[in-house]
C-alpha cells in the first residue's frame, strides 16, 4: 500500500468530501493561498476556489460564530483553527452555541461542522502554542472529539467528521504532519466510537491517544524484548468513547496504563482510568496508572520542554513496575 503523510491524508480527506458535497467549505486564517502555516491545505484553493476556501481576518471567535451560523442554515463548514491553543478564544461559540443548538431547539436545528485544530508540545513554541486541550472540549455535551494517531486515522476520521451531523472537533498532532503511514487508495471511513487495537497483547494494556500511540508502540516493542506482551489501544474518538473495547482489554490483561499528552490533572486520563477502575475493578491486579503531560505551562527551553510529556522510556518503566507486582502506592 502507498505511504502518505498525515498532512496529505487530511488534505485528501477534505478534498474528497468537498468534491462529494457542495455545501462544504473551508474557513480559517491563511487557509487559501498559504494552505495554512503547516501547508496541510495546500492546493485546495486552486481546486475549489476562494468561495469555498475562505481566508479570514485574525478573528477566531468571529469566524467560528460565522461557521456555526452557516452550519445551522444548511452549509457544512470545516473550520481551521491554526493552533489548538486558540480554542480558548472560540469556546463560547463552540460550547455555548454549536454544542447546544440541537438540544436547546428540541432537535430542530443542528450544526454539522468540523473544527480541525492541533495539539502537541516539544516543538519549541512555548506555553501559548503547545497546548493539548482536548479535555476541555471532551467535557462538553454535544461535541464529538476525534484524535488521529496516524495518517490512516487522520483521513478516515476526517471524512466521517465531515459527514456527521454534529459539531466535531478533530485535533491533529502538529509534530506528526510529516509522518507517513500506509493509506489505501480506495475510499474508506473510520466510524466514531470504535477503538483500534494497534497491537495485540496479553500482559498489560496501554491506552494511548494521538502521538502517544507511537510512544506506547515504542514502549511495547521494548517490553516485548523483555518478554512482556503489551496491548496498545487507541480510542480514536474521546466522544463517543468505545468503553467496551477498553474494558475488555483491561479485564484480559488486568493491568492498564493510560497515556495522553494533555495535562494530567483533571484531564482525560482520569476519565478513562475512572471508567476502567469502575467497570473492570474486580479483574485488576493493580491500579490503573495515568501518564499525562506535567501540570505546568509548556516551557520554551528544550531542556525543560522534553521532560513535560510522556516518553517511551517512562511508559516502559511504569509497565515494568506494574508487571513485577511492585505495590505501587501500596502504603
Amino acid at each position: 500500500m502507498r505511504h502518505i503523510t498525515l498532512s496529505q491524508a487530511v488534505n485528501e480527506a477534505i478534498a474528497e468530501e468537498m468534491r462529494r458535497d457542495l455545501t462544504t467549505f473551508l474557513i480559517g486564517e491563511d487557509v487559501a493561498e498559504a494552505g495554512t502555516p503547516f501547508k496541510v491545505l495546500a492546493g485546495l484553493v486552486e481546486e475549489f476556489g476562494p468561495e469555498r476556501v475562505i481566508d479570514t481576518p485574525i478573528a477566531e471567535p468571529g469566524f467560528m460564530g460565522i461557521a456555526v451560523g452557516a452550519a445551522l442554515t444548511g452549509s457544512r463548514p470545516i473550520v481551521d483553527l491554526m493552533f489548538g491553543d486558540f480554542l480558548y478564544l472560540i469556546m463560547d461559540q463552540l460550547c455555548n452555541q454549536a454544542a447546544k443548538a440541537y438540544y436547546m431547539s428540541g432537535g430542530k436545528l443542528n450544526v454539522p461542522l468540523v473544527l480541525r485544530t492541533n495539539l502537541g508540545a516539544t516543538r519549541r513554541s512555548a506555553a501559548q502554542h503547545s497546548q493539548s486541550l482536548h479535555a476541555l472540549v471532551a467535557h462538553i455535551p454535544g461535541l464529538k472529539v476525534a484524535m488521529p494517531s496516524s495518517a490512516y486515522e487522520a483521513k478516515g476520521l476526517m471524512k466521517t467528521a465531515i459527514r456527521d451531523n454534529n459539531p466535531v472537533v478533530i485535533l491533529e498532532d502538529k509534530l506528526m504532519y510529516n509522518d507517513k503511514a500506509p493509506v489505501p487508495e480506495e475510499e474508506y471511513l473510520i466510524p466514531f466510537g470504535e477503538a483500534h487495537v494497534k497491537r495485540a497483547g496479553t500482559d498489560i494494556t496501554l491506552i494511548a491517544t494521538s502521538s502517544m500511540v507511537q510512544v506506547c508502540e515504542a514502549a511495547a516493542e521494548t517490553l516485548a524484548a523483555e518478554g512482556i506482551s503489551a496491548e496498545v489501544i487507541d480510542p480514536r474518538t474521546l466522544v463517543p468513547l468505545d468503553e467496551a473495547t477498553l474494558i475488555e482489554s483491561a479485564k484480559k490483561t488486568s493491568r492498564v496504563i493510560v497515556v495522553d499528552e494533555g495535562h494530567q490533572s483533571y484531564g482525560i486520563t482520569g476519565e478513562i482510568a475512572g471508567r476502567i477502575n469502575e467497570k473492570a475493578f474486580y479483574h485488576l491486579d493493580a491500579p490503573v496508572l495515568r501518564m499525562g503531560a506535567m501540570d505546568v505551562p509548556v516551557p520554551f527551553s528544550p531542556a525543560l520542554e522534553d521532560i513535560t510529556v510522556p516518553t517511551p522510556e517512562g511508559v516502559t518503566e511504569n509497565a515494568r513496575k506494574l508487571m513485577s507486582g511492585e505495590m505501587i502506592h501500596a502504603a
Binding site: 479570514t56 469566524f63 460564530g65 451560523g69 452549509s75 440541537y102 475510499e187
Partner: protein, 335 residues
C-alpha cells in the same frame, strides 16, 4: 407616507402583530407573578415596533437571530401562541420541546434561528447565515437583533469586518432601549454606535424605533438592497423597554426614573400612536382595534390555559437531542 389604500392589509397586520407581542408579554408577566412560570423572563413590551417593522419586511425564507429578550422577535417572525406558551412553561409541545425555555425560544420553521442567552452570542450566527446565502446563491437576507449593551461585545466588530469584506446580506439591528440591565447606555458606550459600523465601511442608519412605519420603510429598502448584494447594513433603533430588565426587576428607581418611564409609555407608545394614525387615516376605527385586541387576548388566554395543562416532556427525553442522528448510509464510502 405610503399609499394607505393599497397597504391597508399590511398596516392592519403590523398593528395586529404589535398587539400580539404586547398581549403575549402581559400574559408572560402574569404567569411569572402568579408563580406559574419556571425561571425568569425578559419582556419586549414597548419595543414592538422594532421587531414588527423589521420582520414585516422579511419573507419566511429570510432569517433572524434573536436575543434573551426574544418573545417579540419570535411573534413577529410568525410564531403561534400555543407553542410559545408551552415552551415558556417547559412543556413537550413547546417549540423546543420545553428544552429551551424563554431564552432559547424560536419558531425555527419561520427562519428564527433562536433566542440566545449569551449577549451578542448570535452575531456570528447571523453573519454565518448570510455567508451561507451568498455561497449557495440564495437571495435571502438575515437580520441580527441585539441590544445597545451588546455593542460592547468584541464579536460584533469581528463579524462586521468580515460581513463588510465579503459584502454579506446581513442587517445588524441594534435595539437601543437606553439600558443594559441596570446601567444607562451612555455609561457603557463611548463615542457613536453608528460610527462604529461606518468605520468598517458599513452604511448605518438611525431610526425612531417607536414608529413602526418608519422602521418598516427603512427595512424594506435595506432588505431589498441586501438581496441585491449591497449589504451589509447597520440600523440603530431608538426604543424603550417598559418593564424591568426581567420580570423580577421591580424596584428600579435606583437606575431609572419613574418620570422617564411615564413619558415613553404615555407619549411614545408604538401601538397607541399607530392606532391613532390608523383611525385618523380612516383605516380602522378605535372600535375595530379594540375588537382585534379582545380577540387576541382571548386567543392568548386559551393558549395559556392550554399550555398550563399540557404535559411535560417525558423523563426519557432528557438525553435525547444531545446529538443529531447521522444516517448510517451516509457514513459508507462513496455514499
Amino acid at each position: 407616507m405610503a399609499d394607505t389604500k393599497t397597504n391597508t392589509e399590511d398596516f392592519m397586520r403590523m398593528y395586529r402583530q404589535m398587539v400580539r407581542i404586547r398581549v403575549f408579554e402581559d400574559n408572560a408577566n402574569q404567569l411569572y407573578l402568579s408563580a406559574k412560570m419556571p425561571g425568569l423572563t425578559h419582556m419586549y413590551s414597548g419595543e414592538e415596533a422594532v421587531a414588527v417593522g423589521i420582520c414585516e419586511a422579511l419573507t419566511d425564507d429570510d432569517r433572524i437571530t434573536s436575543t434573551h429578550r426574544g418573545h417579540g422577535h419570535c411573534v413577529a417572525k410568525g410564531a403561534d401562541y400555543k407553542q410559545m406558551f408551552c415552551e415558556l412553561l417547559g412543556k413537550e409541545e413547546g417549540y423546543c420541546r420545553g428544552k429551551g425555555g424563554s431564552m432559547h425560544i424560536a419558531d425555527q420553521s419561520h427562519g428564527n434561528l433562536g433566542a440566545n442567552a449569551i449577549v451578542g452570542g448570535s452575531m456570528g450566527i447571523a453573519t454565518g447565515s448570510a455567508l451561507r446565502a451568498k455561497l449557495q446563491g440564495s437571495d435571502d437576507v438575515t437580520v441580527c437583533f441585539f441590544g445597545d449593551g451588546a455593542t460592547a461585545q468584541g464579536l460584533l466588530y469581528e463579524v462586521m469586518n468580515m460581513a463588510a469584506l465579503w459584502q454579506l446580506p446581513v442587517i445588524y439591528a441594534c435595539e437601543n432601549n437606553g439600558y443594559s440591565e441596570y446601567t444607562k447606555t451612555e455609561e457603557i458606550a463611548a463615542g457613536s454606535i453608528t460610527a462604529r459600523a461606518e468605520a468598517f465601511g458599513i452604511e448605518a442608519f438611525t431610526v425612531d424605533g417607536q414608529d413602526v412605519l418608519a422602521v418598516n420603510d427603512l427595512s424594506q429598502k435595506l432588505v431589498a438592497r441586501a438581496r441585491k448584494g449591497e449589504g451589509p447594513f447597520f440600523v440603530e433603533l431608538m426604543t424603550y423597554r417598559y418593564h424591568g430588565h426581567h420580570v423580577g426587576d421591580i424596584n428600579r428607581d435606583y437606575y431609572r426614573e419613574k418620570e422617564e418611564e411615564a413619558i415613553w409609555k404615555e407619549q411614545r407608545d408604538p401601538i397607541v400612536n399607530f392606532g391613532k394614525w390608523l383611525s385618523e387615516e380612516g383605516i380602522a376605527s378605535a372600535e375595530d382595534l379594540k375588537a382585534m385586541e379582545d380577540e387576541i387576548r382571548a386567543e392568548a388566554k386559551a393558549a395559556v390555559d392550554y399550555a398550563l395543562s399540557a404535559k411535560y416532556p417525558d423523563e426519557s427525553e432528557v438525553d435525547m437531542h444531545v446529538f443529531a442522528p447521522t444516517d448510517p448510509a451516509t457514513l459508507r464510502p462513496g455514499a
